[in-house]
Symmetry: C2
Subunit: 305 residues, 2 copies
Amino acid sequence: MEFRQLKYFTVLAEELNYGRAAAKLHISQPPLTRQIQQMEEELGVQLFLRTPKGVELTAAGQLFLEDAVNVMALMQRATERTQLAGSGHLGRIDVGIFGSAMLNVIPRLLLTFRNLYPNVDMALHNMNKTQQIEALREKRLTIGFNRIIPESDDMVIERVLTERILVAVNRSHKFAYLREIPLPDIANQPLIVFPKIARPSFADDVIALCRAEGFHPNIVQEVEDVVTGVALVSSGFGISMVPESGANLKLPGVVYRPLKKTPSPSIDLSCVYRKNDQSPILQAFLDIIRAYRNTSFPIDTHSSS
Amino acid sequence: MEFRQLKYFTVLAEELNYGRAAAKLHISQPPLTRQIQQMEEELGVQLFLRTPKGVELTAAGQLFLEDAVNVMALMQRATERTQLAGSGHLGRIDVGIFGSAMLNVIPRLLLTFRNLYPNVDMALHNMNKTQQIEALREKRLTIGFNRIIPESDDMVIERVLTERILVAVNRSHKFAYLREIPLPDIANQPLIVFPKIARPSFADDVIALCRAEGFHPNIVQEVEDVVTGVALVSSGFGISMVPESGANLKLPGVVYRPLKKTPSPSIDLSCVYRKNDQSPILQAFLDIIRAYRNTSFPIDTHSSS
DNA sequence: TAAAAATACTCCATAGGTATTTTAT
DNA sequence: ATAAAATACCTATGGAGTATTTTTA
């Protein structure tokens, strides 16, 4: 049985006349006769009865008609769904994230993606970079976001955006009266760094930045994430350095100030995905990331001052 | 898209290796490659990815696989159902019946048919012969049962069985002491006949029987059906003549006696159906009727004496 | 570099076309 | 007698085969 025959059958069942059905199918009458004969032979069942004006369906033919219509509709639907999936508009994406990235950038990307691809299920998985790489290898993730990602043969790391590093200080701190903080002045300040796991991390970048300036920072506390770090700043425990997007975190008494240095010290947000992953959903997601990369993310660094 | 291609696709999706899949399909590898390429081109979607050991499904391919399996299963089911319908094992039969025939013969036929063709819906419609013919013409009936059915061009009338005519008398009646009732003795007896509508009917047969014997019966009552007639016999209103299968009707004080005549006066039970109806369900039903016709229906005519 | 997929080219089965005959009312 | 379906016969598209090349981890 062929789809062509199902089509012929349904048209003939509608027209109940070989000539008209053949015309509707843009073929001549004899091939239609033969195809229907072939179907009847293959099924071993008579589907039509001859009448003076044409043909009529047998009871078996009526039954087959219902099913034939269903089969064709199901096939049609299968085709459409597959084409959606093939263009990245249907399916699923698993995204690895970490705490502070969810403050600003990633939510915008995810929202944009969801609006453009509403039929793609999106699952977010909070995990650190080590877990992300492992999950990518096991195909539990499609893409991961992180700050500093070690190179590896089977993964591609792509910069999403570069942010300035800001200093988070308590409003009562003397730095709060400065427009920009000179980096060497950090030297004797009690510094809170994060995160403490999954090294190398943003904490290492901050330390390296100080060392490049010729001093060892006075680290009074290593904390889990940016939220905890800024919370300690809020309670007057010390100062901290945060990526610019962290400035979206408004906590009582915390203000953010840029560093006085040109070019401004900065930190990348990157994404990582399997090198051999050609899935259209990933490609669509990357397209959005790349479009965002060419856009500015204006962040008001003085919003809480 | 062709069913052949769906088959090829599902086998390849199972084997994930063109060579093995082709072997399983009893074709060589190149045509399989080409058919899959053709599918991918038609859908505009990549279904497989090459790997060192063979191929693997893309996300779109996995989606299509589910649907392809469903389409093939639905088509399989459609074929089977149609074949059942074509052999008379699936569908519907509408049977026209009348009161007294339901006493013995028709229930047996219906039961036999239902046992042999459990998936055929059977609907019974109580109607007289005029209504039956009309319903047959309008295809509301597949077959009708009746006693005396007028000939007509578009209908076939087929005898189902021939029954003796018995006399129903009250136990207190003098006839109850006879083994057989001489027909001429009926002449002066109060006779109840039925049915009174849809003439010619069994009543006319009874009257004709008497006239052939040289007398006019003393008809004291025309009633609707055999049940009413025998009820009147039970209450001593008179005697009646009934088809042998009517003797299954056991009413208080009613006994049945054969007529003393050779050959025994008899009445046919017939069926009627459309001459041009070739439906396998009707044919199957007729086969059962014909098998029954070649069987005896032993009826105990003395069961209530 | 080795196993597998893709390509080149040939053959033939079969869908479709035209002309004509058969069928059924 | 007539309209429609069935058959006869021809053409050509495309599916399958064999031999070979290309691809990829």
